[in-house]
Amino acid sequence: MPVSDTNPDLALYIHWPFCRQKCPYCDFNSHVRTTHDSAEFGTALCLEMSYMAKMLADRRALTSIFFGGGTPSLMPPAVIGKIIAHAEKIFGFAPTIEITAEANPTSVEAKIMTEFYHAGVNRVSMGVQSLDNDILKFLGREHDVAEALSALDTVRHSFDNLSIDLIYATAGQTLNDWQNTLSQALAFDLPHLSLYQLTIEPGTVFYTRQRNGETLNLDDDHAADLFELTQHITAAAGLPAYEISNHGKPTAQCQHNMNYWRAGDWIGIGPGAHGRFTIAADEYKNLQRVGTATRRSPAGWLQSVQKTGHGIDNRTHDGADAFAAEMIMMGLRLTTGVSIQQIETICGPRGEWLDDAAVTQAIEDGWLDRNQSNDSGMVTDLRATDAGRLRLNHIIAMILR
């Protein structure tokens, strides 16, 4: 795979794996522990960051940092500060850097966000999840609606760049129910919303309950109705979807996540974190994009980092076709779509990875569009239509070789 002329953006993901409790729908790498030493984990995160930085083809300024989890709002602000400072020291920051932390909407964590702000965090993504107490209870959340709203209020004092997560399409939820919740959320006038349809993932409590015959989420037909409603309401309110589940004002799109969808480079540190980035050119002649995954167990990861400087336990090298597949798979999630020409310059002729006949058919059938210009001036010559985005898994399997 040839190196592109300009290296893509570089982002940093930090995984904080601890939670006060495990939510029944969540399949992220999270652990309920109280015995860990947060400072020790902070030090290890910095160590691993340095290790990964050395793997990189070049040292580029970071365009974004994201603290995810787990529950990063449980991190001591001093640890956050130390990590941010370390990142600036070894990478440098782009002038527009976005630094996001995920937070639970409780009063305690909302107050800590002010300290996060002083440590350098400039964007908060709050896991509100619902504005309906019954649904919050169903989702096993600690907070209720009142507490979430008050936490949101507190956080708004420090942060303009603020987003909340909502989960919908739970069993029994009607178009009306969801419309009410969504209108309420839009009334907060936030610059960004993440709206996720409830998905039952293997390894979760919900998965077991579903296998035992419980209905936990809406069937595909009703879920599709709610999805379509969501598109209309948010667009009308000035927060159109820019990705399957993400809505924002054009200026407030999450840069960090955009980097995933555009298949840029990112480093992932912490237990069970994934990274994908371009490594030093002399190490592998033809395959330069590497995927890393670290050990999932917090204790195991910590031990490994302290011993070897990193917790990587799986490393993959993507060939041109795999990289092209990633760009299509992720890029078509965006309303702007992908630039086939750009992928060709990186991954070689499209015939190797794209089924042109299937693309033509999908365009004819109304699932894909070609030659759409967009506001950012980027050339995107393939995008999914609204109908196509709702069936994207199927379409991607159809068009990729």
Binding site: S245, H274, M329, D365, L390, N393, A397
Partner: protein, 600 residues
Amino acid sequence: MTDISHIRNFSIIAHIDHGKSTIADRLIQSCGGLSDREMKQQVLDSMDIERERGITIKAQTVRLDYRAKDGKTYVLNLMDTPGHVDFGYEVSRSLSACEGSLLVVDASQGVEAQTLANVYQAIEADHEIVSVLNKIDLPAAEPERVKAQIEEVIGLDASDAIAASAKTGQGINDILEALVKKLPAPTGDSEAPLQALLVDSWYDAYLGVMTLVRVRHGVLKKGMKIRMMATGATHVIERVGVFAPKPVAIDSLGPGEIGFINAGVKRVADAKVGDTITEERRQCEKALPGFAPSVPVVFCGLFPVDTNDFSTLRDALEKLSLNDASFSFEAETSAALGFGFRCGFLGLLHMEVIRERLSREFDLDLISTAPSVVYQMEMTDGKRFDLHNPADMPDVTRLASIEEPWIKATIMTPDDFLGSVLTLCTERRGEQLDLTYAGNRAMVVYRLPLNEVVFDFYDRLKSITRGYASFDYALDSYRPGDLVKVSILVNGDPVDALSMIVHRDQAEGKGRAICLRLKDLVPRQMFKVALQAAIGGKVIARETIAALRKDVTAKCYGGDITRKKKLLEKQKEGKKKMRQFGKVDIPQNAFFEALKMGDN
């Protein structure tokens, strides 16, 4: 050459699982045919599939040397016979080479339908029968009840039935003694011209074409020039031998003896089963009565999943047919499934065994269509032909009549289930011929269209009787029927591989059932799919598969890519398991599963 008065030839008749092969193993062991080290379980079932399923497919033969209580050594030739209805033709061959039979009945289960059919064949072949009650060591054994059943149902004197256990070895010596005492020695004249029956032939990877023979008169010797009386071909015998149970070369085979020859025959088809072998120089006057050739009665289409495997499939079929002259195949083209073969089998188990061997021994991924039977068509212009594939059914306006094969089926069931069995037979257009009781078991005899039995009758019978019923059938006759072809249309286009021939009265019900099953089998597509069943141009049933509304991952960030890629690979794999028909993806198993009727 063995003294003819010291030869005993016998076959074993038993229902599946009644312990035929284990009894055979014990007999072999007891006569020292194999050391304990060489004793695999069930020596005779040499194919993997045979051993796994506990069934015997090819008849096998073993020569045993037994020193009897009278101090003389006897040669016992054991012909193991298949226990399943599909391989009935193998049974008749084995019987014709022997003078007696060992009837093995499970002392707890009693007589089953298959046993019945085979034992009647043996009685017809003038066999002396030695009854054995096997598994006598089981707590559930009821020897007296089973003896009474043998007397009532079969009509054999069971007073001297031997209580045996292949597991503990009990009664094995009694069996050997009874064979020597009760069975007659064969008769034959060693001075007469050679007259030998060609019992079986198969291909051995090391020895080439093996021919199993039973000598009636004269002597077979190495170097002798022989003539196959039916084909007229002549060959020189290269090797004469017996199975003990490993092949052992000997000098000659005399009257009454069973053994094998290698005679430079190139193809199994050239060593025709049932043919009579004589000496070229001194020919016998008359050929022995042969066997009715085995004719395939069940047909289905086999198509490679990967179209590139077509030639591999052809080679595999050719190889299998080397050893099994009873199944036929010819190239077939289907609009839905591409290039494949229309294959003919002796029955459903035979079909299953061949399919399994294709996938196991040749690593082939296959799509098979639902099985159908052979219809005799008469056209308005007087032409007649056999229809093997419903898709080839001519236009009704040119058809004078259709005849379908009927069978005579014997079912044995505990009387608790009799009502459901009768209902099932009636649903399948059956005509009751006989109904008798023996103890708490009932025996029903029905005449049924094979068409109604060929697909899922046996599964249904097993399920409504919780596995207790046994079933056997023989082809009866061809009878005219009011039969129509039901086509299945997907988005308006007929799918050839799904068409079927059914009785007019059942067409609508079956058409609706198939559309409903397809609705479950075919995944939702990006567009609405109409499923229709039609007779000629007339639609008789219709179902709609709604278009796929939603298939998208809600959350997909950096950490999800690896998993998402795996999912994508799985999706693509899944797509490979589909056949594109027009724009509609149809899963491979649908072509078979859709025609299964289940409870109706």
